[in-house]
Symmetry: C2
Subunit: 205 residues, 2 copies
Amino acid sequence: MAEQVATNIHWHEGEITRAEREKNMGQQGVTIWMTGLSGSGKSTIAVALEQVIAQRGRHAYRLDGDNVRHGLNKNLGFSADDRAENIRRIGEVTRLFADAGIISITSFISPYRADRDLARALHAENELPFLEVYVDAPLDVAESRDPKGLYKKARAGEIKGFTGIDDPYEAPEAAELHLRTDKLSVGDSVQKILDLLGTRGILPA
Amino acid sequence: MAEQVATNIHWHEGEITRAEREKNMGQQGVTIWMTGLSGSGKSTIAVALEQVIAQRGRHAYRLDGDNVRHGLNKNLGFSADDRAENIRRIGEVTRLFADAGIISITSFISPYRADRDLARALHAENELPFLEVYVDAPLDVAESRDPKGLYKKARAGEIKGFTGIDDPYEAPEAAELHLRTDKLSVGDSVQKILDLLGTRGILPA
């Protein structure tokens, strides 16, 4: 233990535990996995949720197309295999974030049940909480919003394999939360997620 | 803005900035990228460093073979392409962690200069700090430690393409820190990293 005397720093044998990290962070790591059609409101809710969590002095981080599709997953296309690998990698990254004690919020369409279930299973392996939030607007509502003009392109045949148009969206059967965004405001949707985090003991009200 | 009245929660337009996240976290995100031969001391230093950072109430997370090779990168082998992709993905994940305000500490051999330079470039794109730490023990010292018995297997021909034996290690030419672990104790090595973080204004002493 000569090094401890030499440097005046101290540490114990073995690795720091997740519980120690969480105590230090003052919160529990969790993945809030939002799934739904393009235009259903995932990103809008995620942006507002991150802010409200930050206001409470807690630490959240959003993963979305901007920072994942153009980064970690920029070598993936839109084939069935690549779509599955896209979601698998996001599942693995959120597992790391949850293990680090961060509240991560994903906003990807993630249309296939099997892919979402894999992301859930990865968290379960490490007993990390995973909350699936079904951000649900009827197709006609989502299409009428069309924030990125993608439905228009899909209807014109300029985009192939677009979820809801010529590729299926497999709705969750047992999501922890189901938000009908054609009926709920953004604030009400955020509040329902906060309520869920409170109920689970992750973020006290 | 009816939702704000309805739910008693408030948020502003636009996304939360990295500066806001860092203020909330009370620290700056940074990637501490350790590179060196198997047995050079990367993991030992990383484990001690994480603890000392946590003692100061700051938030660090280690990425290593245990949580990356068996998770995000479990579909990669050891071909030249797969090794490059392994480091690229780790570079992308550390970029996300740094953007989230976390001090991430990687301990991968990462033997090729081009791969490490790519990880550095990914951080530079977002003006995120990246500190390369060359964890340097002469091959005979690293081999004599052989904590996982891998050198023995490589010498026996049971492992092919092992760094330092039949695959090259390209030493950093401009690492932010060079630790000779055959001369420095673990504590002294950790202290030198802390000093560097202090100098850079990332972690005040």
